[in-house]
Structure formats: C-alpha cells, structure tokens
Symmetry: D2
C-alpha cells in the first residue's frame, strides 16, 4: 500500500483535496477505462453526463484497481481506520456538461421529519495526534485531460472547514446562473491530465465547471469510508421506518434549481 506523503497530506488537510499527478500509469489508465466497454446505466440530460454504476462488479480490471493497494493506500492515509469501498462509478461527459456544486461543511439542511442540521455527519474530517480521520473520501481518476475549458473540478476555497453557512448568491438561488459561472471570488478550478487523481474530502463545497471544449471527459470515481458505513445510496423510506440505511440528501445547489423548476 502506498501512503500519501507529508506534502500531500498537508495539501489535503488545508485545501480539502490533493491532486496526485500521474497517479495512474498507462496500464492502470487502460484498466480504469475498461468500463467504457459496456453501456452506461444512466444518462442525465440536465447535466449531460453518462454514468456507469458499480463498474467494479462487472469489470475485473476496475475491481483490481479500486480494491488494490494504490487506491486503498491513498484512502487509508486520510481515513486511518479499517475502511471499505462505499461506491464506485464511471462518468463520461461532453460539451455543455457540468456538475452542480454540493456539500460544504455548514449547509443548513432540512431533512425528513423536520430535522434541521448544519452538519452532515457522513462528510467530515477529524484530526488527532498526527492523523486525519475522514469519513468519506473520493478518489477521482481522470482518464482524459481536463483543461480549464474541459469542465474541471471546481471548489470554494476553505469550505471543507467552514464554520459559517455558505452565503449562496441570489443569482444561484434563483437559477439565473451556476455557482461555477457566477464569478464567485472564492471559486477555484483544478485542471488535470489523464492519469491524475484528485483525493477529495467530500466535506468540500465542490462540483465541475461547464465543459466548453469538444470530445469526451472521462473519469472513474471510488469512495471509501470507515468500515461501519453503508454503501452510498439515497435514503428513501416510509415515515416511521427507522431501520433502512442510506444517505440523507443534501440541500444544495441542485435544490435551488429543482425548486425553480417546480419539482423537488
């Protein structure tokens, strides 16, 4: 297993993510891309994404990669607990695609049964005595170059440790613009090359900018957390049910858009 270096851990702690340049060599890149051989499970017309669910269950090369020492070693460096794979998916997107920005440490959330919370306990990162303890870390492996025009990863600086609620701009709330296109002074973008991996603390307020260049953007993502966490799936249950497991929905950028559309 390969652990992150002190420089990488410092970057992950301070920025909420770290980019590992050239993490995948050519054979690993080929393995990672093997999911493209089968048809996608979903096509999200809103955001122009094609999505493959759990490709590690169908493609042995993907499985070897996301359960292997390089991926799990990086994840373990920031979890520091017995861990498990929580989700795995592939993405392909083209011109016009984007990803709504989501999470942020202090979203004021309204959940089932009127529960109000400003923390989502699934997405956190503690620290004690030299070790980081993340609950949900995502490795995003880029399988194509993604330059500034290619719909790169974007985030709000420092939001993974925010104490105060993010003041969503009115234009975002009213769906007149995307946060990633709003010119927000704290927005940062992270261009990558094929083979780079972003190790992401899910507490960061992040998404993907609009892709304005041609050709496909392809990535493979794998998320890890402590062994007691359930697979990622949206929490859906009847009133009164207190046994079904799942992840409660965050009330973030997409909500404003769904609301403006009259659904959600």
């Amino acid at each position: 297993m390969t652990a992150l270096t002190p420089d990488e851990l410092y970057a992950y702690d301070c920025q909420g993510y770290v980019r590992l340049d050239g993490f995948l060599d050519a054979p690993a890149l080929a393995s990672a891309r093997s999911f493209l051989e089968t048809a996608p499970d979903a096509h999200l017309p809103d955001t122009g994404l094609r999505r493959w669910e759990a490709p590690h269950r169908r493609h042995e090369a993907v499985r070897a990669l996301v359960t292997g020492p390089a991926f799990t070693g990086a994840a373990l460096s920031v979890i520091n607990q017995p861990l498990r794979l929580l989700e795995c998916y592939g993405h392909e997107s083209s011109r016009g695609a984007f990803l709504y920005m989501h999470n942020g440490q202090t979203l004021d959330q309204l959940w089932e049964g009127g529960i109000r919370a400003s923390r989502h306990l699934a997405y956190r990162c503690d620290y004690h005595d030299g070790r980081l303890y993340t609950t949900y870390v995502k490795l995003i492996a880029y399988l194509t170059d993604v330059g500034p025009d290619g719909g790169p990863f974007c985030y709000i600086e420092g939001s993974h440790k925010a104490q105060l609620p993010f003041p969503w701009p009115d234009a975002v709330r009213q769906r007149r613009t995307l946060l990633s296109q709003s010119g927000h002074p704290m927005l940062r973008t992270v261009p990558v090359r094929a083979g780079d991996v972003i190790v992401l603390n899910e507490a960061l307020l992040h998404g993907a900018s609009v892709r304005v260049s041609d050709g496909p953007r392809v990535l493979l993502a794998a998320s890890y957390g402590p062994s007691f966490m359930t697979d990622w799936r949206r929490l859906e249950r009847e009133p009164g049910d207190v046994e079904t497991a799942g992840y409660a929905d965050l009330d973030d950028e997409v909500s404003f858009h769904e609301e403006a559309d009259g659904h959600g």
Copy 2:
C-alpha cells in the same frame, strides 16, 4: 416525539450520559420486559450475563418501544440527523456479573493491517450552532432497580471528551483487578431505579461494576446513529476484502484480560 430538555442536553454534553428518571411508566416497563418470555441467545460465563439479540424482531411490544417516539425522540435530540436503529438487546445478570469498561475517546488502537488510531470514528459527538451530533447513542432502559451493590453503570469522568490516552493502571493491564474495582479516583457510578433510562454517548469510557447483591438485574438497550451507519456487528473479514461492513474491535479492558489469559 419527545426531545430532551436543556438541562438533560447539558448533562449529556458535559457528562457523556444523562439519566432520565422514570422514563418508562408501568405499561412501558411491562412492554420492555416482554423479551424475557423467550430463551436468551447467549450466556457469557466470564461476566455472568444472559443476552437476548434483537428482541424487537420477536416481540412486538419491544419493537413498538424502541422504534416509538419516546426512544427515538431522545436519540434524535443528540443525533440531529435522520437516524436508524443500530442494535437492540436484552440483558439479565446476577450476583458476580460485571461489564468490562470500554471505549474512551482516545484509546490507542491497533487494528487489522497494522492500522493505528486514537479515534474510533463510530463513537463520537460533534457540536455546531446549538446542536449535538452523536454518531452512536445507546439508550439503556433499566427494568429492575440497580443500587450501588447491584452492578451499576460506571464510567470515568470526562473520558468522552478526553484528548489524552487513558493511562490504564498496571493492575488492570495485568488482570489483577477490574478497573471498576481498582479505586480509580475518576471512577463514578450511577445507581438507578426500574424505569430509569441512561442515554449514553458511546465515546464515554464506561462499563458495569460487579453485582454483589442477589436477584436479577434486567435491562433493555437500543442504540441509534445516523442513517448511513450499518447495523452493529463485529467486523470480520479476510485480508484484502474491502467491502464487508462492520465495526472494528476496540482494544480495551477486555483485551488485557484476554491477553493475560493467553487468547486474543
């Protein structure tokens, strides 16, 4: 649903538990005791306990209690997330029974694959903007009186927020005594009456003193956490498996005893 009062929340925050006096009225007590009608699932000879697993699956009255508004309302007060029931069990014990003290916020743990950690991410309590966020809260409903001689709940003061590792006394490490009988200056005990409930932040270093009085001590316990947590079960898996879910074992008082016995 019934929320804890400000006094009860303050006690829970500062002490790591709060005793709710007379939480169960006579009918609720009768419901809770219904699990005794069937045979126990386990008998732990070391500690003199008889244990019923998941009685809410066999006894509708137990189910109604642990999924009902009183229990889940108390739990929700300190979780403040969509929650789920993580475990439920019944206990009956007699003279000589005890429970090893376990947890504490800063155990230096050695886990599978050489993982060293001083935090167990399953047992924590955060706070933000007026709300507590516990990951694992246990409601212990006492179905008989448990006086000072009855094997009462015991704990180390302030250990749920400890920053430093607990200095286990040598006599405990070498199994010459139990921590609860060691005269430790920070040990506190909590006698209860039938119908009282202890709401416990599992991060507290706690256990049960040796019962030196006659007759049975009976309790029903139900644990709750955020909806993304898996049912309580010991993590057992092969090397290389990163999909099985479960709770990694803590390296606590019982370990010293197992070690001294030459097993574990």
Copy 3:
C-alpha cells in the same frame, strides 16, 4: 521543573482540574503561609473572605514558591508556551464563607458596548499533538485541611468543555439559594488536606461551598498564562478607549445576586 505525570494530565484534561496530594511539604507550607504575617488588603463581607493581594511582592518566601520550579513546572505542563505569572493572592475565610460559582465554557455574556459572547477567550484549553494549551491556569495551594464541611472547592462536572450554555436553576437566578447548595445533580466537591494543590483550568464552572465548620480556611493562589497576557485586573475604561488592558467581567452567579440586590 517538575512536570505533571500522564495520570495527572489525563485528570486535568477530563475533569478540568487535578488535585496534587501533598504537593507542599512542611517547609513549603510554612513559606506559603508567610503572607498571613501582614494585614489583608480586603475583607469581603458578602462572602466572609479576607484577601491579600500580590503577597509575592511583599514576602520573598511566597515569591520563591510561586516563581519556583514546582509551581511553574506544573503550570507549564498544561500551558506549553513561555508563561508568566498573571496574579497571586492569599485567602483566609471562616464559618459562613463561600465563593460564588463562576466561569463555565459557554456562559452567554453581555459585555461593554453590547458585545454578546459565549466564549471568554481568556479562559480556554486547546489541545494539539499530545500537548494541552491552557490560557489561564490557577494553582490553589491549601494551607489548612478543608473537609466536606470546610467550604471545599466545588464544580459542575464537565463544564470546562461544555458546548451548551449552563441552565442556571431559577432559584439561583432569583437568589433564593447558592448553586453550591442547590442540590444540583452535576455538582461535585473536592475535599483537601493542608499541602494539597488544585491545578485548575479556569474554564471550569467552579467556586467554594459554604464553610460550616469552625476555624480558618487558608489558601494561596497563583495563576499563570502565556507570556502575552496582561496581569489579571478587571477591565475598566471609558467608552471609546481601546487601549487599556484588562479582563472583561463574566456574567455569572454573582451577577444574579447583584441584580437581585438592585446593584450591578
């Protein structure tokens, strides 16, 4: 210099104080008592206390003690910064004396110019990588035995790390009783012998119970903090003055009493 042991540091962290038994030997006790040779600077009729200000400036034996390696070594163990002596005083009290309970980590304070705060930055304890960082630590050296009836040190369990505001009982707010006599379920008392020292994190909600035994209770106190803190003195200044240094007053038990008396 003598550092606190791991057991003592753990107790200080978890309880907000630690009692060091027999910290002063007979010669040190005699040195500490030398301030009694001069007249007190104040007599507080409300609480039956006689108080000596800065006895280390008049009595070389006191100075040697409070600037010497035993006292500063204990303080340094929990400050872990270059430190300075912030205050020193002697107390003598007799039957009927007490000390209002004060501090607590989350008092909702109203200060000059309408400033509302739930933290007093002067009284805190951080932790990082194995070291405690206290801003205001008081060593209380007991120069007489103080049993349960002698007006012992008392505190609210866990209040030094409280996240929620202390719910002052109505009877305390309305001056019908003292908190230390209110039967509060989280109140703890700490009897001592002559020569014992209590090392106190000032963030703890603490005071002294009413003395109901005869004869004098005598103590010497010395407080320490990081070198950038000013000597303890009440902040008193004109509106608009932003240069005078001092400690803003806490809005605690004594305030309710002053209010009930129509002054303050």
Copy 4:
C-alpha cells in the same frame, strides 16, 4: 461601528483573510498617509522596508482612523470580545522588498527553556454558536496600488486551520529561495488597489512577495485582540523571569535564513 457582512465573514473564516475593496475613501486615505510626514523609525536593509512604529501616537489622523468605528468595527466582527489595539505601524517599501512568510497554525516551535509547541496561543481563531473568536487580527490598509508585481500579500491556502506541520521545502530551509518565489503549489497572492484593506487572521501562513516594480508600496497596519492581551512586543527576559510580558518568537522562514547566515 460597521460589522463585516455574512459574505465577508465567510471569506475570513474559510480563507484566513478577507479583502475589503475600497474600504478607505479619499479622506481616509489621506489620514492614513499622514505618518509619512515624519521620519521612519527603522530601515530593514534585508528586506528593503522602512517602518514607522506606533504612528497613532504621533499623528492624530492615524489615531482617529485606527481607534475609530470602521477599523474597530471590522475587528470586533471577528473578535467578539471587548478588544484593544495591540500594535500599529506604517510601512514603505520599494523594488526588491519582501516579507518573509510566517505563522501557520502548526509550526513546530522551539522556545525559551526548551519549550516545544505546535500552537502559538496568541494567533488563533475559535468559533462558537455563530461567532468567530480571533485572538490576533491585523487590518492592513493599502495606501498605494499593489499589483501582481508590486510585492502583494501572499499566503498558503488553508494554512490558518492546518492540523499538520507545514513541510517547508528544502530550498527554503537552505536559503536558496524564498517560499514566495519557490513555485509552491498552495501559494496564493492578493493584488490590491489603494484604499483596500485586508483583514487578516494572524494564524495564516503569510508574507509579501518580492516587489519587482518601481515606486513605493505604502501601507498602514493595525492589530487588535481581546482586552487581556498585552501590546505586541518581542518577549525578551532573563532566565527565571516569569513576570515580563511579550510575544514569544516564531520559528519560521526568517529563522532558516538567520541560521543559514550563522546568526540566530
């Protein structure tokens, strides 16, 4: 008094600073510049800076500014305690000038008497229940434009909340380059216009890039903290002195350079 807006407070919390555009209007700019009428108190040849100490003591216009409602209101927004002015100085610099990068939340510091610490208690920012609590906040008022070539403010992203020690690059440690010129991937710079103010949490690892443009760069700085903090001054005292107040020196970029020079 003028408080920071929610957007400004969010930026300050997440970035460790916030730039207030056009905070000084033309008359305020003229007031701020009045210190230039007298001779500087120091000229630092290493870094090409001319420095005026405490200009608010000599120039009424400066005093009115740094004790007035705009400056103290901004400071109070992030201190939330009765505050005081801790230091005030003016700077003028020309081509070649720079400021070594210093602070960062987790410097491993070696202080007087062998004290090792990874926190400097003078430079922190807590949070509780909707309010930030900074101990040392500096307002830097820019009195000339400072573009990317002008020696702008620079910092390491997220370093004000770092949990891990900053991994100083070897080339910095060995004085072969400045951190601000090292191409560090987490380095950010903040160009400003005359009249802009940067509100800085001193815990941030920050400095000024090398000025490569002509003409003077002029700024006025004023620092504030809770009322119990002493004026900024370097702690200098004899061994055994535990009464002198002051700020212990940080072991940062300048130390490596002093060491490489054989002094310090």
